[in-house]
């Protein structure tokens, strides 16, 4: 359970985020959507303990984020790619777990890369991987860490639409298998609706939560559901909220 109590973050005089209240249950998939600069990254960093809130507080299972970090319970996937260029895909996946002082599990890492469609590329260095493959490795690395909480900051931001859809479906099935708590930041409304059980809409000046949508889509989520009427309606509703906040 992740709990944000009236969290605010200020950089000097500038209030980036104000008064964010949010509770996220174990195993929930929450997406955060909003315009550029509205404070999505700042909120995610506050949850993961990379940014100390100026006001309010964040807890993960009742502990402070830094305690959760120590226990290796926070898995980050950053927008910029953060694979070490001199390590192979497999070495990169193994590396983070090692840095977290958790017992090594090379075979587990290998198997995970395989399920993520990277078999045959375990020994390839990042330079030899496509953008989509690199993000797959970064996601595998966060999962292999064994953290209960996965924080993803626009992980598909630099990918083409086809790859985004594909990875979106994969993330969903991964989440069903692994039952992690996922907070997923994006500026794409369709992506937020497709992925999340709950979609948090943020606005800026100052960054805050404008509305929260429970996403209810019938049937399993695959590329088919992107065309369904229920999906389109939800997307339209979220869009409306985003645009209304600017009137």
């Amino acid at each position: 359970m992740i709990d944000l109590e009236s969290v605010g973050v200020a950089f000097d005089e500038f209030t980036a985020v104000a008064d964010v209240d949010l509770g996220i249950d174990d195993g929930e998939f929450v997406t955060v959507v909003g315009p550029s600069g509205c404070g999505k990254t700042t909120v995610l960093r506050a949850i993961g303990g990379l940014q100390e809130p100026t006001t309010g507080r964040v807890t993960i299972d009742g502990r402070s984020p830094s305690v959760a970090q120590e226990a290796g319970d926070v898995g980050f996937v950053f927008q910029q790619h953060t694979l070490l260029p001199w390590k192979s895909a497999l070495e990169n996946v193994v590396f983070l777990r090692k840095m977290a002082d958790k017992p090594p599990d090379r075979e587990g890492a290998r198997a995970l890369l395989e399920t993520m469609g990277l078999d045959g590329f375990e020994d390839a260095r990042p330079a030899a991987l496509s953008g989509g493959m690199k993000q797959r490795v970064a996601i595998a690395r966060a999962i292999h860490l064994g953290a209960d909480v996965l924080l993803m900051d626009e992980p598909f931001g630099e990918l083409d639409e086809i790859t985004r859809d594909e990875l979106g479906v994969e993330i969903r099935s991964l989440w069903r298998r692994e039952r992690k708590t996922i907070v997923f930041v994006t500026h794409s409304v369709p992506e937020a609706v497709f992925l999340g059980d709950r979609c948090v809409v943020m606005c800026d000046r100052p960054g805050r939560i404008e509305a929260t949508f429970d996403i209810d889509l019938p049937g399993p989520r695959d590329t088919e559901s992107l065309g369904s009427g229920a999906f389109q309606e939800q997307v339209a509703a979220v869009r409306r909220t985003l645009h209304e906040s600017y009137d």
């Binding site: 303990g49 990379l50 070490l84 983070l96 840095m99 260095r125 330079a127």
Partner: protein, 258 residues
Amino acid sequence: MTERISVAGSGAVYPVSALCAGVALWWALTALGDIPPFLLPAPDAVVARLAGNPELYLVNALFTLEKVVYGGAIGIGAGIALAAFVAYVPWFRRAVYPYLVTVRVLPKLAIAPLLLIYLGTGMTTAIVFVALITFFPLVLNTAAGLDRTPTAHHDLLRSVDAGPIERILYVDVPYAIPDIFAGLKQSVTLAVVGAVVAEWVVADNGLGFLILMGSENVRPDVMLAALVVLLLVGLALYGIVVLVQRRVHERLGLETLD
């Protein structure tokens, strides 16, 4: 800049031809020109000089090499250590970095006579001078290299509560490797320069001393022979650094650009 130390491959054809042409020109100048041999000896006279008394050049090459190796090791070690302080101790960086950058414009050669007064005419002066001259390229390059890690990588390590030692060892240092080698290449070249200058000032032994003596006795053949040996020593040292760099870069999957 491309450097191909190996003579194999078609890439070597042009430089080797140029070298042959240069030596041929030198030889033609001495054979056909009206230059007295005591001013510009023919290439074969220089080779004969080397072959006639190999111990002299070998012994002095070893003296020079000794200064280069000891001084270089100290300068490189101290340079990397100071770079670590510059990179990781903010107040130290603020206090010292501006001077490290400024001192670059100071011709270090001008310090040699001063060292002579402080340290005397022994080996120490030469070693300290070589250390001093090799130190600067390493500090500046290494410090810049240790700064190169993208901040997101630091965030990644923080997110699993990894300590600074782990971060430096596993992330910052590998990122700094290309810069460290860039510094090493500059240092190793300067080390030879430094050793020769020290030998001129201290005037005890070594290839620099041999050149100095050759000059005083107007013996260009001895000077040229010593220069050839000096060139070989410099090339060998540089070649070693390049080879190690290739190996390390290969292991890290980095491209060796220069």
